[in-house]
Amino acid sequence: MDISPILDGFGIVLEPSNLIYCLIGVIVGMLIGVLPGLGPGATIAILLPITYGIGPVSAIIMLAGIFYGAQYGGTITSVLLRLPGEASSVVTVFDGFALARKGKAGTALGIAAIGSFIGGTVSILGLTLLAPIVAGFALDFGPPEYAALGVLGVLLISSIGNGNKLKAIIAAAVGLLIATVGRDTFTGAERFTFGSLNLAEGIDFIPIAMGLFGLSEILYNLEERHNQVHAPAKVGNVWPSRKDLGQAKGAIGRGSLIGFLLGVLPGGGATLSSLAAYAFEKRRAKQPERFGKGAVEGVAAPETANNAAATSSFIPLLTLGIPANATMALIFGALLIQGIQPGPQLVTEHPDVFWGVINSMYIGNILLLIMSIPMVGVFVKILRVRPAILAPITVLITLLGAYTVRNQVYDIFLVIGFGLLGYLMKKLGFEPGPLVLAFVLGPMIENSSRQSLLIFGGDPTGFFTRPISGTVLALVLVVALWPLISKAVRRKPAPVPAGPPADPPVEPPVEEKTP
């Protein structure tokens, strides 16, 4: 491999002006990441005209910085206020918010920052060395593969909760049902839209997540406070201890790998990656019951994975000319404005852009880590603000965030509606997590299955005969039957001596062949 263009790329990035654009990008990204709703996509759209005036490399470095900076920022609200700004940070809420309640918000944010840094960096290394190879891998994923992945995802949802399995399944089913709202992509038929144009494109993720997680929590706390004297949230340590880091180490390593691989897939890899990383950690944990109650790995795994995935989602754009998500579509647009067509020829025609952007991400990640350290201390202090002040401000940010997505007042009412639903769910012991995640995966399963059947000419055996979808479906079976398998395996050795529950032998989830 000829490394001189890579080194030239570093030369480009280290030019002071580019360093400054990178810094501006990551700071703006981090700030908008904190605001739910106003995502990196909208921000880049607003800043697009500014990029006309600066060179292509600087422009893309800045815009890319906004994108991955926002991933860092998104963690902050997920942990502190229970507001996941993106589908890929829903899973972080489970343990992140639990840690914050225990007074360990600093630990959660610190671990997330370190995990994000490592995940991002591993992914950039992968991008540098393997981009062309994994790009081909992305193309091997057609509709049947996405359908299989979606099924695997829904199965993982059922295993991430701690509460009642049946209730988790009910919530997930409701999520799948909500996902069917809107105009059908295949026939144009209206489904549950009640003639409203506002529902024609379905319901956006933001109003649902903001309502079910953020607003419902506030409503629930209001009631709590009437019943008991409110103790101000403790803000204990500000930085993860050596023990926390030790605990998170493995999760960060595995999260990086999962995130990098799934992020390459242009159809929703980031959400799946955080979900898969979390479920994987929970499964291999010695005490899976810690998850959901403030396990450090429960923050480390999804945060590492979603940052790794955010980085590797540049691969389809830079090597194939396929924008993997709305933000990538805008970066695509920004490159066009600069007279550069992203696609297979980018690396040969414009190596300065290709390597400049990739190498800027190394620097951007370092900048983000450096900024995160003092920021964690600052943000954590938000929790010291009295709920009487913090709650209304959170509500305001939530509603504003939902409004900015489509500039529709309608979405504000949706947040309130889902807030009430979330409140009722909490009262009745339902978790919002399975609902939201199933909502995200629902369209992926439905559309991909229907596309697959069209491609197969109506023959469903195609799902099993294609190597990748077949393997994924086999994995689905293994995961589904895992409790039975592990029971069978555990029965073989002599009965485990009773006593204080020593570490039960836990098999790593073996990737078995089709049973």
């Binding site: 909208a42 057609g142 003639g195 000319g321 579509a329 067509q341 603000v385 596309q451 491609i455």
Partner: protein, 335 residues
């Protein structure tokens, strides 16, 4: 608590301040409070461009390029607001009931008026009568392409192969769907449509050989065509496209399929003549800038900077023609 309250509060104010600032930016940098309607010569306030699609799509990029140029010409801010929903119908409904004073305008797609009505109920269809057209903007043509491994180089090759062709489209009610359906039907090729949600997944599926052909907008496919990964089979315009001069039109290959997407600037019905003239003038001056011309080229857009009357005629002709052809071949776009 020993710690003073000021620190967290200051922090919070900072956060809120930043939030507010960003929220304002989100609204497109609204600096002046008035949204128009004041005395004096038009324009006296911001002109809002709404987009019936998410940020990043062709309509959005065109709107932003145009808004930026017109802002300079008119000397006021031109915030761009994305209001995606129902293929642009949601935005259209809002615009048609807005005050007809030239402070709320939008770039709209022909397909919303010519193709979408073929797939939705009559009361939901958007009608061009509800708007004043200010000027045509540009054409965004479609290309049907195949993976280079398929061995096809023309529509005829697909017919010769005798196999059932699975073709990707960019969704229901799009020109890509219409153009492909008409082509296969009129050529007598056995084919199954696989609708995707937009151009990117249709392109991905084609590059990965999941489908045999896909019809997309030229800008989405051109780079992979240049790289030799995709082979273009046909374009659906009247004449060949400058950006792909070697690609034959469907008409040249003997199939009467003329489908094109174009965009035009609209205002609510009843906008005063002088306001429309001022907007047209600003748009024309923007079209003439090198910057805007370059934008068209980079996005593979063909200028269609024609008069409102020509836009209306084109819309009418296309609507009638599409309807007639669909009836003739017994095609229903709604699956």
């Amino acid at each position: 608590m020993p710690t003073s309250r000021t620190t967290p509060r200051r922090v919070l104010m900072g956060v809120v301040g930043a939030a507010a600032a960003l929220a304002l930016t989100a609204c497109g940098g609204v600096k002046t409070t008035s949204s128009g309607g004041g005395e004096g010569k038009y324009p006296t306030g911001n002109i809002e461009f709404s987009v019936g699609a998410s940020a990043g799509g062709s309509t959005d990029l065109i709107t932003r390029a145009l808004a930026q140029g017109m802002s300079k010409e008119l000397g006021v801010s031109t915030p761009v607001l994305n209001k995606p929903g129902a293929n642009g119908a949601l935005n259209a409904k809002e615009l048609q009931s807005a005050k007809a004073d030239g402070y709320k305008i939008a770039v709209q797609n022909a397909s919303l008026f010519t193709i979408t009505p073929l797939t939705v109920s009559p009361e939901e269809a958007t009608k061009i009568d509800s708007f004043d057209v200010i000027t045509g903007i540009s054409r965004d043509d479609y290309v049907m392409a195949t993976n280079s491994q398929s061995g096809f180089t023309s529509i005829g090759d697909m017919k010769k192969s005798g196999k059932t062709i699975r073709y990707g489209t960019t969704g229901v009610g799009t020109g890509a769907q219409l153009a492909s359906a008409l082509t296969f039907k009129s050529a007598g090729i056995d084919a199954t449509a696989v609708p995707f949600d937009g151009g990117a997944p249709a392109l991905t599926a084609l590059l990965g050989n999941q489908v045999d052909v896909s019809t997309m907008q030229i800008g989405e496919a051109i780079e992979n065509i240049k790289a030799g990964k995709l082979v273009p089979l046909a374009v659906f315009s009247d004449k060949r496209i400058d950006y792909l001069p070697d690609v034959k039109t469907a008409k040249e290959q003997g199939f009467d399929v003329l489908v094109t997407q174009y965009r035009f600037l609209t205002a609510p019905k009843g906008t005063p003549e002088d306001v429309k003239a001022r907007l047209l003038d600003a748009a024309k001056k923007t079209f003439a800038t090198d910057e805007y011309k370059k934008f068209n080229e980079q996005n593979s857009l063909t200028p269609m900077e024609v008069s409102p009357q020509e836009v209306l005629t084109a819309l009418q002709q296309d609507t009638a023609k599409y309807k007639k052809q669909l009836d003739e071949f017994g095609i229903s776009l709604a699956g």
